[in-house]
């Protein structure tokens, strides 16, 4: 019954008119961000963090606002997938496979409503799962010492690099870039500057927000300049929107199964929502078999990835909140938000600041209902957003990024650094080097080194201490398997590429 009393605390906070208003605003902005091609959840949340910070919201309010944006963006991603065949974000890629054919067959409205309901089912079940699993995992997390944390951080990099990228060596390079950047600045233990090259601006280190906004938002602008904003406008018309009750009923089990698959994929550190929607789609495809007609525009093919994707988004919050290890690119950005707000995620968060955790969970539940209402009857409003031309949108995004970063420190140095990260992000993405591990490296680098150094202080410099407990050995094994196994599985589990007309 502890769960219920905790939930009561949460709803007490989440149901205050002010918090409720923030949740609604967050959902609205989030859905728009998700729907806009080229602005995914990671970019969107990253650009908004500095602004929330300057608005002077307290920790819980800021967290409620940003997680509503996060959930909203997950819902919104499907709109451009279905209507334009352009995934609004990476996890929505799978939705294009059946969503776009369905829209071309004149059932765009049905596909949007069905995917909205599937998103709701996935996100709702995942939030329940988060509620049940997170406190249990928080208990386990108390057993973690520095050696275990070091192995856990390694596991996050290994699984992220192993599963989410096409080339292990490049993913490892990306992680090293991030970790290397995290080392810059004054060393916590000795108080001496490291790797600053004598530049005073670097003594505080490089702010992760500068890197995130540069790598995600500014790099996107360069991509649009390269493509001249092509392949954005061809779309399918949306006629009238009705509720396809029959399709929803028939996809019921699909949604439930996909939610479970997606949630599990989300909980694995480093795997995230893309893997969730992928696994959900693939497993439903094999259950349906040849006759299922997946890929030709069947309702189940729309429901499965959307339920999986949104369930994974909820699942990814579990390791983020309990262990401080994000499960996806966007949760990495949410972790950045927590760090900006001076909240340290981890088991202590559940005992010391229960109002933050349970307020967050309660507002996620509320946000879900708000999003269902917004995304089913009001979906036409968001479809209008798609007609914002890129030559207005992208300069706008750039300017918002500049103001956000400028408002953090008021120095031109951070802005120049951000442009530098944008250029770096462009080159790296061209070379198929994933950028999420860089973010993760910058965020976790300091903690990872601290864990290693504290472990060595405890053991007096004996390296075997890193492998001394059952938990840490397991984590090391999973890390190595997670990094190496995809090399051999890649032949069998080929990522489906985008279909083109």
């Amino acid at each position: 019954m502890e769960l219920l009393s905790n939930l009561a605390i949460g709803f007490d906070i989440a149901l205050s008119p002010y918090t409720l208003m923030l949740a609604v605003i967050g959902c609205f902005i989030g859905t728009i961000i998700g729907a806009l091609p080229g602005l995914g959840p990671s970019n969107g949340v990253a650009i908004l963090i500095p602004l929330t910070f300057t608005m002077g919201l307290d920790a819980t309010s800021a967290l409620v606002l940003m997680t509503s944006v996060y959930y909203g963006a997950m819902y919104g991603g499907r709109i451009s997938s279905i209507l334009l065949n352009i995934p609004g974000d990476e996890p929505a890629l799978m939705t294009t496979l059946d969503g776009y054919p369905m829209a071309k067959a004149g059932r765009a409205g049905d596909a949007l409503v069905l995917s909205g309901v599937a998103s709701f089912v996935g996100a709702f079940l995942a939030t329940i799962g988060l509620m049940l699993l997170a406190p249990m995992l928080a208990q386990v997390a108390f057993l973690f010492g520095p050696a275990e944390y070091f192995a856990l951080y390694l596991l996050a990099f290994a699984t992220l690099g192993g599963m989410a990228s096409n080339n292990q060596a490049k993913a490892a390079i990306a992680s090293c870039i991030g970790l290397g950047i995290a080392m810059i600045g004054v060393d916590n233990n000795s108080g001496l500057p490291r790797l600053t090259g004598g530049n005073m601006h670097l003594f505080d280190g490089i702010d992760f927000l500068v890197a995130i906004v540069g790598l995600f938002a500014i790099a996107e602008v360069f991509f649009f300049i390269e493509s001249h904003g092509k392949n954005t406008s061809i779309g399918v018309k949306l006629e009238k929107v009705t509720i396809p009750v029959k399709d929803i009923m028939e996809s019921g089990w699909t949604m439930l199964r996909s939610s479970v698959v997606g949630f599990i994929a989300g909980v694995l550190p480093g795997a995230g929502a893309s893997l969730g929607s992928f696994l959900a789609y693939m497993s439903e495809k094999s259950i349906a078999g040849e006759k299922g007609g997946f890929g030709t525009g069947v309702p189940k093919g729309v429901a499965a990835p959307e339920a999986g994707n949104n369930a994974a988004a909820g699942g990814a919050l579990v390791p983020m909140l309990t262990l401080g290890v994000p499960g996806s690119g966007t949760t990495a950005v949410l972790l950045a938000l927590l760090m900006t707000l001076n909240i340290t995620p981890g088991p202590m968060l559940f005992t010391e600041r229960p109002e933050v955790v349970w307020g967050l969970i309660a507002s996620l539940l509320i946000a879900n209902f708000v999003l269902l209402l917004m995304n089913v009857p009001m979906v036409k409003i968001f479809v209008k957003v798609l007609s914002v031309p890129p030559w207005v949108l992208l300069p706008g995004v750039t300017m918002i990024s500049f103001v956000g970063i400028y408002s953090l420190s008021g120095s031109y140095f951070d802005l120049v650094l951000m442009v530098g990260f944008g250029a770096l992000g462009y080159v790296l993405r061209k070379l198929d080097v994933p950028t999420v591990p860089i973010i993760l490296g910058i965020l976790l680098g300091g903690h990872m080194e601290d864990a290693l150094r504290r472990a060595m202080v405890l053991s007096g410099g004996d390296w075997k201490f890193l492998f001394s407990s059952g938990i840490s050995i397991t984590l090391w094994i999973v890390a190595i398997v997670g990094f190496v196994a995809p090399m051999f599985l890649r032949k069998f589990l080929k990522k489906p590429q985008r279909i083109t007309d």
């Binding site: 970790l179 060393d187 360069f222 390269e226 103001v403 802005l415 250029a423």
Partner: protein
């Protein structure tokens, strides 16, 4: 092929330079067993190794844009860096209008619409930031308004 070989070589060189500068980190007298050098050197080592692997086993080349596109990307970078320096001394409105127009023109080369987009974004965003979010932005150069 060539891109990845160059990339791998650059990563290896940068990683070696990183290790070299990590060697220079001063230790304090009360150092812990690991010290401030070890972890950076470890990272540099892994990066150098992976750089060599990428250089030896390159992926197929990506589709690089033509030279003219590279030119406009370089222009975009220069404009953005200039904007970063101009924002403080020149106020928000004028640099933002100019930068947004240039970026808009680069995405879709129609001068009239680009200028309109630039001015619209500059004024619109200023109003939102100043009055809806309450950020302390300076609209014009200080020397003009006194």
């Amino acid at each position: 092929m060539a891109s990845d070989r160059i990339f791998g070589a650059v990563v290896t060189l940068v990683a070696l330079a990183y290790i070299a500068s990590a060697m220079q980190i001063q230790s304090s007298f009360m150092a812990d067993p690991v010290g401030p050098k070890t972890f950076p050197i470890l990272i540099g080592g892994v990066a150098a190794l992976c750089g060599i692997i990428v250089a030896l086993r390159p992926d197929p080349d990506p589709e690089w844009p033509v030279l003219a596109t590279f030119g406009s990307l370089a222009v975009a970078v220069v404009v953005l860096v200039g904007y970063a320096y101009a924002l403080k001394p020149l106020g928000f409105l004028i640099p933002t209008a100019i930068t947004a127009s240039i970026l808009s023109y680069q995405i879709e080369p129609r001068a009239g619409r680009a200028v309109l987009a630039g001015i619209g974004l500059s004024v619109g965003l200023f109003l939102i930031f100043k009055f809806a979010l309450g950020l302390g932005l300076v609209p014009f150069p200080k020397s003009l308004t006194g």
